[in-house]
C-alpha cells in the first residue's frame, strides 16, 4: 500500500455526490417500508390467519415508502419537473435506473395492497381481501429490492468508501432494513395493546442486527485493506455500531430475560434499532462524501492493488 501518496495541492481528486440528507432519509424509509411489506406478506401467507393485526400494520407501514419515497427522490433532483425522464429508458448498469423501476413496481403494488386493506378494514363488501393477498406478492418482492438496491446505488460509484465493500454494504443495508421493520412492527404491536407477536418480531430484529454487525465488521476489513479507513472513520463507525447494534441487542436480551416486566426494555430496543438504522444511513452518506473530497483517500483507493483481479 502506497502510504505517502503525493497529491495536487491537496485539491480534491473526485467530486462528492451532490446528495443532501434527503437521500439518506429515502434510503432509510425505502428499507423500512420495503422490509415491512415483505414481513407482512410472509405473515399473511404463512401465519395461518392468526397474524392479521401484524399484516395490517405492515401493509400500512409500507405505504410510508410508497407515498413519501417518490416525493423525497423528486425533491433531491436538481431539475425536479423532469422526474419522468427516469422512466424513459432502462439501464442495467445504473442502480439509479434499476431502483426507479423497483420503486415504481413497489409503489403500485403496495398502494394496491394497502388501499385494499383500508377498504377491507372499513367492512365494505367486495373482493378486497383477495386483491390485497394477490397484490402483496409482487409488492413483497419489490420490497426486498427496495431494502437493498440503495446499497448498490452507493456502491456503484467511484466514491472510495462506498466502492470499497459493495457486497457487505448491501448485506448491511438489507439486514438493517429488516431490523427496522421488525422493530417498528413490534412497537405497533405493543403500543396498540396487542400481546401476541412482539417476541417473534424481536427475534427477527435480533437476528437481523446480528447479521448487520457481522457485515459491518467484514466491510471494515475491506475498508482497511483498501486504504479508505482512518481514525476519524473508525470513531464514527464504532459509535454507529454501538448505537444501532450493540445497544438494541443488549436491550432485547435484557427484555427477554425479564419476561413481561421487560416490555419497556424491548420497546427501548426497538426505538434504538430505528434510530440506529437512520444514523447508519446518514453516516454512510456523509462519510462517503467526505472520502470523495479527500484526495489522499481517493488516490490511495485508485491503486492497482485494489483492482478486481481479472482486470488489473
Amino acid at each position: 500500500m502506497a502510504d505517502n501518496i503525493q497529491t495536487y495541492y491537496d485539491h480534491p481528486q473526485l467530486k462528492p455526490a451532490p446528495f443532501s440528507w434527503i437521500v439518506a432519509l429515502y434510503v432509510y424509509l425505502a428499507g423500512l417500508s420495503g422490509s415491512s411489506q415483505m414481513v407482512a406478506t410472509i405473515a399473511d401467507l404463512f401465519g395461518g390467519g392468526r397474524l392479521r393485526s401484524l399484516v395490517r400494520r405492515g401493509r400500512y407501514l409500507s405505504l410510508v415508502g410508497t407515498v413519501i419515497g417518490p416525493v423525497l427522490l423528486i425533491m433531491d433532483l436538481h431539475t425536479p419537473q423532469r422526474f419522468y425522464n427516469m422512466l424513459r429508458i432502462f439501464k442495467a448498469t445504473s442502480p439509479m435506473s434499476i431502483g426507479s423501476y423497483i420503486l415504481s413496481v413497489f409503489s403500485v403494488f403496495s398502494a394496491l395492497t394497502g388501499g385494499a386493506q383500508f377498504i377491507f378494514d372499513r367492512a365494505i363488501r367486495g373482493p378486497w381481501r383477495w386483491i390485497a393477498r394477490i397484490a402483496q406478492v409482487p409488492a413483497a418482492g419489490a420490497g426486498g429490492g427496495m431494502s437493498v438496491y440503495t446499497a448498490s446505488l452507493l456502491a456503484s460509484t467511484s466514491t472510495p468508501l462506498w466502492a470499497a465493500s459493495p457486497g457487505w454494504m448491501a448485506v448491511r443495508f438489507g439486514s438493517s432494513s429488516v431490523a427496522s421493520a421488525g422493530a417498528a412492527l413490534a412497537l405497533g404491536e405493543r403500543w396498540s395493546g396487542g400481546r401476541g407477536y412482539g417476541r417473534k418480531l424481536d427475534a427477527l430484529a435480533v437476528a437481523a442486527l446480528s447479521v448487520e454487525l457481522y457485515a459491518a465488521h467484514l466491510s471494515q476489513r475491506d475498508y482497511q485493506t483498501k486504504g479508505v479507513w482512518g481514525d476519524r472513520e473508525a470513531a464514527v463507525w464504532d459509535s454507529i455500531d454501538a448505537l444501532g447494534g450493540y445497544l438494541p441487542l443488549a436491550l432485547y436480551t435484557a427484555g427477554f430475560f425479564l419476561g413481561r416486566r421487560g416490555r419497556t426494555l424491548s420497546e427501548a430496543a426497538s426505538l434504538a434499532t430505528l434510530v440506529g438504522g437512520l444514523a447508519m444511513r446518514l453516516a454512510m452518506q456523509y462519510a462517503g462524501q467526505a472520502s470523495a473530497s479527500d484526495p489522499r483517500t481517493s488516490l490511495r483507493f485508485a491503486q492497482p492493488e485494489n483492482l478486481p483481479r481479472a482486470q488489473s
Partner: protein, 72 residues
Amino acid sequence: MKTAEGTVLLVQESRMKVQLDSGASQLFIISHKSPAEPQELQHLQKAQAKVRITYEEGDRGMYAVARRIMEI
C-alpha cells in the same frame, strides 16, 4: 429579484449572453425554476430578440441567474 432589458446575442444550452441596454454584456444561466426550457429559447438568438429578464445575482460564478425571460 432584479430586471434588465437587452438584446439576445447567444443561447447555448442553458447559457444566454445578452447585450444589456446599459451597454454591458451579461451572461445569464437559465434557472431550473424558469418556466421556459432552455431549448425553447433558441429562436431568441436567431431573431436577436429584445428581452426583459427577471434575474438574481449568481453566487457560484460570475453570472446572473435568469428566472423569467420575456420577449418585448
